[in-house]
């Protein structure tokens, strides 16, 4: 149990996908302008990470390892993740329109996000068991959503802040991202 908590905290805060591993940076700047968008994006990423981890764990341990084709895992992972996201999108669209609208464009957008591929590769590299990889995916997704929410909160305030004209918009956001990264650097070495 303590092992699972360690994995969760490690992926959510210490080895956070955005500020420590620098994965998934495009949504970090692209979708962090409004709090509402950031929350839907975070939820979508967490969800896709979860299903991707489950599916790739099964495929790795029941197909790739017995057949000894591990070196093809990136190709297979991308294929499987893309398929899964397509299926989920199709299902949501045809069954629950409200949920589909809440996810909006983000669900298909993150099909090939590097954070998603990252979690599956990290799961494999660390040799996580099934339960561990599920917890890792939840932790990673939570960390991603957390940073995205914090960033969008700051950026909403920044819109109103009185900053030099040249720094308005993206430049000042990049500075804030740097400070955010430094802050989370302080957590390094806890686990």
């Amino acid at each position: 149990m303590s092992n699972l908590i360690t994995i969760f905290i490690s992926l959510a805060i210490i080895n956070n996908f955005i500020v420590a591993r620098f994965l998934g940076l495009c949504p970090f700047f692209g979708v962090s302008k409004r709090l509402r968008d950031a929350i839907s994006m975070g939820a979508a990423v967490t969800f896709v990470m979860l299903i991707a981890s489950v599916a790739t764990w099964v495929i790795t341990h029941y197909i790739l390892i017995p057949l000894d084709v591990l070196y093809m895992r990136i190709v297979v992972y991308i294929l499987v993740i893309a398929t899964l996201v397509q299926i989920v999108e199709l299902t949501i669209k045809r069954t629950n329109l409200t949920l589909y609208n809440a996810f909006g464009i983000y669900l298909p957008l993150i099909t090939t996000n590097c954070a998603i591929l990252g979690i599956t590769l990290i799961n494999f590299r660390e040799g996580y068991s099934f339960i561990e990889s599920v917890v890792a995916a939840l932790g990673g997704g939570f960390g991603f959503a957390f940073i995205l929410t914090v960033m969008s909160g700051i950026r909403e305030k920044l819109e109103l802040a009185d900053c030099p004209k040249v720094m308005k918009g993206l430049p000042v956001a990049i500075f804030v991202a740097m400070l955010l990264g430094l802050t989370f650097f302080g957590f390094g070495g806890i686990v």
Partner: protein, 278 residues
Amino acid sequence: MVIALVIAAIGLLCGIIIYTVFVKMPTKVQGIEKTEELASILPGLNCGACGYPGCFGMAQALTRDPDLITRSPCAVLLQDAKKVEEIGKALGQTIDCSALNKRALVHCGGNSEIIYDYSGVEICKAAAQLLGGYKKCPYACLGLGDCVKVCPQHAISIDPERRIAVVDWEKCNGCGLCVLECPKNLIELVPATTKIGFCCNYQPLKNIEGREKCDFGCIHCRKCFKSCEYEAIIWNKERAIPEFDIEKCTLCLNCIMECPPNVLEMVAREEVREKVAV
């Protein structure tokens, strides 16, 4: 060999799963039938020129507000009269596509004298920051192709001689992305049936100083207005530029021949030209 087969098998399996899900899932969902119907009529290019995330997004917006089709129409759809009729039927209204169908017109004839060598980043937005551009006329097209890059139809090209953007009206579908892109606000959406284009964006009235800006700009002489035998040209007194009555124009091209600085240009598409010939 075996490995290739394994990977191919996984891929095939993924494809089959997606297909089965697509077929098995209920196609008729409460509140989405109309959206699905509209989405099937829309072009499905997901270009995003309408401002919605893809054609399905536009279909959803249309279900909520059918009048949207006249306010912010899908430019690709308007090229096909049959499809316009179909979507009109689906929305329960008649749509006049000829009034909505637009084309982008660059209001600059080029040839404006170059006042300094610009060697910065090759985009109009950067060049426009420097003294309002390197051409003598402050309203001139800079010809560095911001609009070329953004055009989804590849309809815009840079004329190497005059160094201005030229829109191919046979390819253009009037989506309006270039209008937003131009830092000089030179591009305007005009009705697709337009026959004569006024290729000068010179703004102030009777400004002699402005005349000196470009030797090839409109001199507000009214020669075109006087030369027109069909009363197809209306003189806009406020801006001192000619305006064209598309219906009356017979494409006699008198005005183009009369114009001293050559700012008028025949822009009519083949379709329109054929109609005039008949």
